[in-house]
């Protein structure tokens, strides 16, 4: 079969494109190298829905950011992802930074960021009493928010799939050729033929583009390291706290997460290895030191995990969304604010692709997607009713996050095949003991539901079997 559209990459950008493209009456295949969605840049980032003050006015980043922010705020009830509009502050600590703050304010207005407030020191400390008393002034961006990037990616994919998009996981694209109007993709999981190819391959988008496109691009992995604090620290800050942006990015932030932890990071280091998501002690130390400038009392004794992610930094600095040859589309160099921009990129790319294919909208299209129920967050009576209808919702497996067997089984039904797949869908193992207690039990449920032996249960990718 020849697919109308093949999307390379199952991160938030690839799935957002699939989600928008599935509105058209075309055949769609998403190919993903890893064994699950959301395995690259999308899984390890700040989880911020940026308001849009930072990108250079007129850039694609600025345009996608503003549109994406608006879409994420509007679509929450439609796609049921974990998003909280908590607002963001950018702090100024010196006279120089006060000048920069004003420049940033004007830039925000020029980009179309709504509702920017200027806060004085008293107001800042009234709203966020744990911030440094050295702060002089701040901008507040009310449309900024926090999101669980996994939930957004799975929401895009589950809705795309409900509208008949297909996926092939564990499918690594080795080569692309064009034969007449047809693209022939050689992959680790067979040959795939397509009328259009969409490159959303994250840090590998340069390799994919450079297989075919006359215009070569370079994507540099830019590592960012984070530390995550226990939910006991909930409320330490309410909004997302930024320092003044520099050439290297928006700097180290201190933010609540959509689930109530406190997240601190990232640093920003260009590296050569597109696979190197290891943390190092210098990076983690830098992140913690920098965060203390904003919030001196942040309690690093409450760290429950640290991690790093790779941003796909493009040469030139702006997103690369184009059609370098007929039928081949790039959504490349999608670094920050990529998560925020993802639905807008999905919209833009799907318009480009559907124009090219002269595709028509489907007559019947499923708009809504429901997330997996969070039994612990239900009111007691509703929770009791749920347990009454399925007693597995009363069997708590992950004690830290209070995740039931019912939720884990549902995560598996929706495609989780690994410990991380379960963890990212329903947060079993995401809490303060980091899976110490629930790992063996989640493995048993995976083994039982998937009819595979315990020894073949993996943490995530091939080669990550838990037992030997």
């Amino acid at each position: 079969m020849i697919y109308d559209a093949v999307i390379i990459g199952g991160g938030v950008v690839g799935t957002a494109i699939a989600w928008q493209l599935a509105r058209y009456d075309i055949s769609i295949l998403l190919v993903e190298r890893e064994s699950d969605f959301c395995e690259g840049t999308s899984k390890a980032n700040s989880g911020i829905v940026h308001s849009g003050y930072d990108p250079i006015p007129g850039s694609l980043k600025a345009k996608m950011n503003i549109r994406g922010n608006q879409m994420i705020r509007e679509l929450r009830d439609v796609l049921d992802y974990d998003f909280v509009q908590n607002g963001a502050m950018v702090l100024a600590f010196s006279k120089d930074e006060l000048v920069q703050l004003e420049t940033l304010r004007r830039q925000g207005i020029e980009n179309g960021v709504p509702g920017i407030e200027v806060l004085d020191r008293d107001e800042i400390l009234r709203r966020e009493p744990n911030l440094s008393k050295d702060v002089l002034s701040a901008l507040f961006f009310p449309t900024s928010g926090i999101i669980c990037p996994f939930s957004l990616t799975y929401a895009f994919w589950e809705n795309a799939h409900a509208n008949n998009a297909e996926a092939r996981l564990g499918c690594d694209v080795k080569n692309i050729e064009k034969n007449g109007d047809i693209f022939i993709l050689t992959t680790s999981a067979g040959v795939v033929e397509a009328r259009t190819v969409i490159n959303a391959a994250g840090v590998y988008a340069d390799l994919i583009n450079n297989m075919l496109s006359p215009r070569k691009i370079t994507i540099t992995p830019r590592r960012g390291e984070y530390v995550l604090l226990d939910k006991t620290e909930r409320g330490f800050v309410k909004s997302t706290i930024f320092q003044m942006p520099t050439a290297a990015g928006k700097g180290v932030l201190v933010t609540p997460t959509a689930h109530g932890n406190i997240l601190v990071g990232p640093d920003s280091v260009d590296i050569a290895d597109k696979e190197c998501t290891a943390t190092d002690s210098e990076g983690l130390d830098y992140v913690m030191r920098s965060a203390r400038k904003s919030a001196p009392e942040v309690n690093f004794r409450k760290i429950i995990t640290s991690f790093s992610g790779l941003r796909a930094h493009p040469e030139g600095g702006d997103f690369i969304i184009d059609m370098p040859l007929p039928g081949f589309f790039n959504a490349a160099g999608i670094e920050s604010p990529g998560l925020t921009s993802s639905p807008a990129i999905g919209e833009m790319v799907s318009e480009m692709v559907s124009d090219y294919l002269k595709a028509k909208k489907k007559s019947r299209y499923i708009e809504e997607r429901k997330g997996i129920v969070k039994s612990a967050l239900l009111p007691p009576a509703e929770r009791a009713r749920l347990i009454d209808s399925d007693s597995r919702y009363g069997n708590i497996i992950c004690r830290c996050e209070e995740i039931s067997e019912g939720e884990i089984v549902e995560a598996i039904r929706r495609g989780a095949t690994t410990l991380d797949g379960v963890k990212r869908r329903v947060r079993a193992g995401m809490g303060r003991c980091q899976g110490g207690f629930c790992t063996p039990r989640v493995m048993e449920i995976l083994s039982r539901e998937l009819h595979v032996p315990m020894e073949s249960i993996r943490k995530n990718n091939r080669g990550s079997e838990v037992l030997v």
């Binding site: 009454d388 597995r392 009363g394 830290c400 209070e402 048993e444």
Partner: protein, 408 residues
């Protein structure tokens, strides 16, 4: 309304329930989240339990079964697969496969035990591959489920579970290459160092920590390095091990998220509730014992302590509880903490359990009431890994008590 709800059916919960029963309380419910009573003892299949209580060497499951039998003989009610989600004075709410249950109760005993500190709490850099286990998780997989967790193993931390697992995995055919301990002394019992490491020629690297983990999917290697007096790694001292597994035995934390949510005052040193000699917490009718109160090294002492909590909860329920004035117990000069932290003036006799903050040889434990020395005990060796106790009998507790490590 029930008389007593015991949260957790492990060593502490069982002993507390049995003791409350023997003190005349009949309407008792043990709420256990696991699928059987006995708690973590069920996965501790090595021997050495019960030397103090039963004067014989039992395995963990054997030790647990004696208390389970005692509870059963008394007809003490329990519910399994039940996760407590909320505690308030006189009310416990739990979730189980039959629904959400709210139990109103006169008294509550907290016996939830502890959990292991995860890798993240240490901020060990490197990749996050499969093959990194806390020692207790590995213990469960090996002892309960019967699986192999690794072939070549490095252990970080010399806590007792890590030491026990070093021996256990060796017996299962794995090669334990090293145990690294960041402190200059072991966090475990001396007998476990001898029986689990020395007897199997497993090297213990004191003042060493893990500085890198290699392997993106599965652990491929672990690098350890010596640390200086500030516990910072010393460049050039790295030792690399080719291995597929890293076990972490880097400390236990009392599980007090529920207690904390309920408003129980916690000690920043023990991470457990602040209690008086009756093991009553800062909240009316809520008692605590076992590893949720402070981490123990011997289960015998857990049982002893829980029996005290059970007895006092019974007195509280019967209304024969006197809430009098109290004095503080202060830990100073080498004593890291004490349990209890307060003693009521009429207590008369009290057992104070404590830990020291370093290794001391040929010192004295000195107990003062006000400025007066009321007890002095010579100790050949004191280590943080071994819990100590002093028994004070027939004391008029009319002034604060101080415990310290002293030269004379």
């Amino acid at each position: 309304m029930r008389e007593l709800v015991v949260i957790g059916g492990g060593a502490a919960g069982l002993a507390a329930a049995v003791s409350a029963y023997d003190s005349g309380i009949r309407d008792i419910l043990i709420v256990e989240r696991g699928t059987e009573l006995g708690g973590i003892l069920n996965q501790c299949i090595h021997n050495g339990f019960g030397l103090h209580t039963f004067k014989e060497e039992l395995t963990g499951p054997e030790y647990a079964s004696r208390f389970i039998k005692e509870a059963e003989e008394r007809g003490i009610e329990h519910v399994l697969g039940a996760m407590v989600i909320d505690i308030k004075p006189h009310c416990v709410t739990y979730v189980c496969p039959s629904g959400v249950v709210m139990e109103e109760t006169k008294a509550i005993i907290l016996t939830m035990g502890c959990r292991e500190r995860p890798r993240g709490a240490l901020n060990i850099p490197g990749y996050r591959p499969a093959g990194i286990f806390s020692a207790g998780t590995a213990q469960r997989l090996v002892n309960i489920e019967g699986y192999d967790v690794g072939k070549r193993i490095v252990i970080l931390g010399s806590g007792d579970i890590g030491l026990i697992m070093a021996r256990r995995l060796t017996l299962e055919g794995a090669k334990v290459l090293a145990v690294a301990e960041i402190m200059p002394y072991s966090g475990g019992l001396k007998r476990n160092i001898v029986q689990c490491l020395n007897d199997y020629s497993i090297p213990l690297y004191l003042s060493h920590t893990v500085v890198d983990i290699k392997g993106k999917e599965r652990v491929e290697g672990v690098t350890i390095a010596a640390v200086d007096e500030n516990r910072k790694p010393i460049k050039g001292s790295e030792i690399e091990f080719e291995c597929d597994t890293l076990l972490l035995s880097v400390g236990l934390l009392p599980e007090n998220e529920l207690s904390s949510k309920a408003g129980v005052a916690l000690s920043p040193v023990t991470n457990g509730p602040v209690v008086n000699d009756k093991l009553e917490t800062s909240l009316d009718g809520i008692f605590a014992a076992g590893n949720v109160l402070h981490v123990h090294d011997l289960v015998d002492y857990v049982s002893e302590e829980a029996a005290i909590a059970g007895r006092n909860a019974a007195e509280y329920i019967k209304g024969s509880f006197v809430e009098g004035e109290r004095v503080a117990v202060k830990a100073i000069n080498g004593v890291r903490y004490t349990i209890p932290q307060y003693i009521s003036k009429e207590a008369g006799s009290v057992t104070i359990r404590f830990r020291v903050s370093g290794v001391f040889e040929n010192k004295y434990i000195v107990v003062r009431k006000g400025d007066d020395v009321i007890k002095r005990i010579k100790k050949r060796i004191l280590t943080p890994g071994e819990m100590e106790k002093v028994e004070l009998s027939s004391v008029d507790f009319n002034d604060d008590i101080t415990l310290e490590v002293s030269n004379g």
